[in-house]
Symmetry: C2
């Protein structure tokens, strides 16, 4: 088999792999509270409006906005207080013209009210009446029914990795269980007559196993479950037996071992014998990492990684990580910090740091950060945002088109 040495580019290797391997995502139902960083297996839609009742965003008085029009401190509007809305209770108050009800932040805005005037903009006259010193608009200081998310609205797509704010957003809707992808099992086989386990003494000529544990860590980071098959001697029968066992137990098989010509010949033979179609690429046009084997055996991807740790890590990131993500059905980009152009002016005040939630959009080849507006009370402001832009303490805002750093969630 040693004549069979077809060097391909990484994109071509990925295309060959995709042609011969169909990722089947296995799924399980788990508690939403335990689902951090897990990948959603099915899209979710909202089972309810959030909130389900109009909520006040301030401490103040629920009013008919029309009753306050033109009100000022010199010409206040006089309203009768008909009661107080208790927190966490259904309010059966019904506001008529000229009436107001005391309401707290997060409390229900009672029927008949169209806005809430902040307590700072009122003055008590007596126990049953107030003066309103500033007009409120219709809907002012009120979160409307479904303003956070509406019943039937899509929440998150299949393939999305659940972030802390996603967990909060799902639990806010009473979604206490979610269907997520099962972590793919990644078999890691180390080989080499000179390689010993890290807890064993080394004799002259021997080295301890490095790659098994580095690759196990990279597997975990990618969302897979590493299974270590230990160190196999550089003998055909031993390597064949280990590879066959791994192929029957795991979803992805990774051989990591010596990079001598004889070992490469041996491993390409063993991989070729595991199943159809066999070796797709023997050699990648990458530095470091050229001596890489990419194969598929009976719908399971098999990789022969270069023996040296730097190449092994580069190649793992390049081909094994995307394969693990494919078996998770994951679609999201990795968590990082990116530069983007701000899609509209953001005003700010010097002496205050502003954190603006943004959605990323690609337009004409540039990445744009589109501010996601929405009250801070809304969990879906976070769920719909890709990241945060910080406006510095001493800045007076940022202009549309300026480059900003987006810290991805």
């Amino acid at each position: 088999m040693s004549e069979f040495f077809t060097v391909v580019t990484p994109p071509d290797a990925w295309n060959l792999l995709s042609q011969h391997f169909t990722p089947h995502v296995r799924t399980e139902q788990i508690s939403t509270m335990d689902a951090l960083d897990r990948v959603l297996a099915a899209p979710l839609v909202s089972p309810q409006d959030l909130p389900e009742f109009p909520r006040s965003t301030v401490d103040g008085y629920a009013v008919n906005a029309a009753d306050t029009y033109g009100a000022s401190s010199s010409l206040p509007a006089f309203l009768a207080v008909i009661g107080e809305v208790a927190m966490g209770r259904m309010s059966d108050l019904q506001l008529g013209v000229g009436e107001a009800a005391l309401v707290h932040t997060g409390g229900m805005v009672p029927a008949g009210a169209t806005g809430v005037v902040m307590v700072e903009n009122t003055q008590a006259v007596d126990a049953a009446s107030i003066e309103v010193l500033k007009a409120v608009a219709d809907g002012e200081n009120v979160i409307q029914i479904g303003e956070d998310i509406r019943i039937g609205d899509p929440i998150l797509a299949a393939g999305h990795s659940l972030r802390p704010q996603d967990i909060g957003g799902l639990l806010a809707l009473g979604i206490t269980r979610v269907e997520v992808a099962v972590p793919p099992r990644v078999a890691i086989i180390s080989s080499g007559d000179e390689v010993v386990a890290p807890d064993q003494p080394v004799a002259p000529g021997q080295v301890r196993d490095i790659n098994s544990y580095t690759l196990a860590g990279l597997t975990k980071r990618a969302g897979g479950q590493p299974i270590l098959y230990g160190i196999v001697p550089d003998q055909r029968e031993a390597l064949e037996a280990a590879a066959a066992k791994a192929h029957s137990e795991a979803d992805i098989i990774v051989l990591s071992a010596g990079s001598s010509v004889s070992y490469r010949d041996l491993s390409v033979d063993v991989i070729a014998g595991l199943g159809a179609p066999g070796v797709l690429a023997h050699g990648l046009s990458v530095r470091p990492g050229k001596p890489t084997i990419v194969a598929v055996a009976d719908d399971k991807p098999v990789f022969g990684l270069p023996g040296n740790p730097v190449s092994a890590m580069v190649i793992f990131d390049l081909v094994v990580t995307p394969t693990i993500r494919a078996l998770l059905g994951a679609t999201d980009r990795p968590k990082q910090q990116v530069q983007a152009r701000l899609a509209r002016n953001i005003a700010s005040t010097a002496g205050r740091e502003d954190y603006v939630q943004v959605r990323l959009e690609e337009r004409d080849g540039d990445m744009w950060a589109v501010p996601v507006f929405g009250k801070s009370n809304l969990i879906y402001t976070l769920v719909h945002a890709d990241g945060t832009v910080k406006i510095d303490l001493n800045a007076n805002g940022v202009r549309e088109g300026a480059w900003v750093t987006v810290f991805l969630h």
Copy 2:
């Protein structure tokens, strides 16, 4: 206490906190294999040279480099083959002048040899002699003793978060147990008469708890251990009892609840009563997130976060995450992608992707990516690198000073 409302900037809040709170890092010994993403509690130095013997990086013949000087295919050097170095074995071969020994990639270079000529550059004459068709330099194709890391060299500093390649690097040296920081316990107390647990039915006027679970996820991401104290009614006695229990059991206490004036007054009172010195800042100059309480009670940080989820998340990132990192003794920057200027020319060949390991250095206000050279066989090339720069398939290299994207490990 409600008159006590001192708005400070986030840096000032952090300074106040630092003045009144000394992070004591608790530590534990764990298996290195289980230490991914844990924070080192003590600096590590290498207990040995790596490698402990000179290793060949190619398949070929160990030779006296001087014996090959001037060799070419038209005028080969003739050498006597005195044996083969078995993998994983001490070689007792001793090369004399005009002698060579067969050696495999990763095998020991025997005594008397100063370089290894690749098998492609040799030609067998008979079973006991070869012709060398190309000269090798002193040290060529050899990893010297201690070239990866030397005995007594610092490996990693206290405060470093262990990455996959660090795990590999430690195990390569036989360091199978490491002392790491114990995850700080972060008590999360939710409050609000309108808040119910996510698995409970909601009546009109009630909402499900969001923040407890979002904050628990952020705590895990920061390296802390969240402890949820459930939902406490907006009553002084209940909140005092929950806060006192949390203060006795956890390292950091986070109150997350309603943002009504009455609740803020109540929580600032409860926090003030927990211990000395008490409330340090009541209000941060941040949007969103102004109504934040920063306090220290008997050397434990206590935070009153704004009730709304966006503010809570921004403020958590701003003050709670750095506090968790401080209690871990963590010093490293978060994992991200950054722009940096390349510190020297990197040559590349079109038709091949290059991945260059770089160390980041700040010089004159710019971030520079300094290539970390070293053979791909060396795990410490990765351990000493901060990230990877990719040179595209069709680029002919990148010039010194050019801006590149560094993907942090």
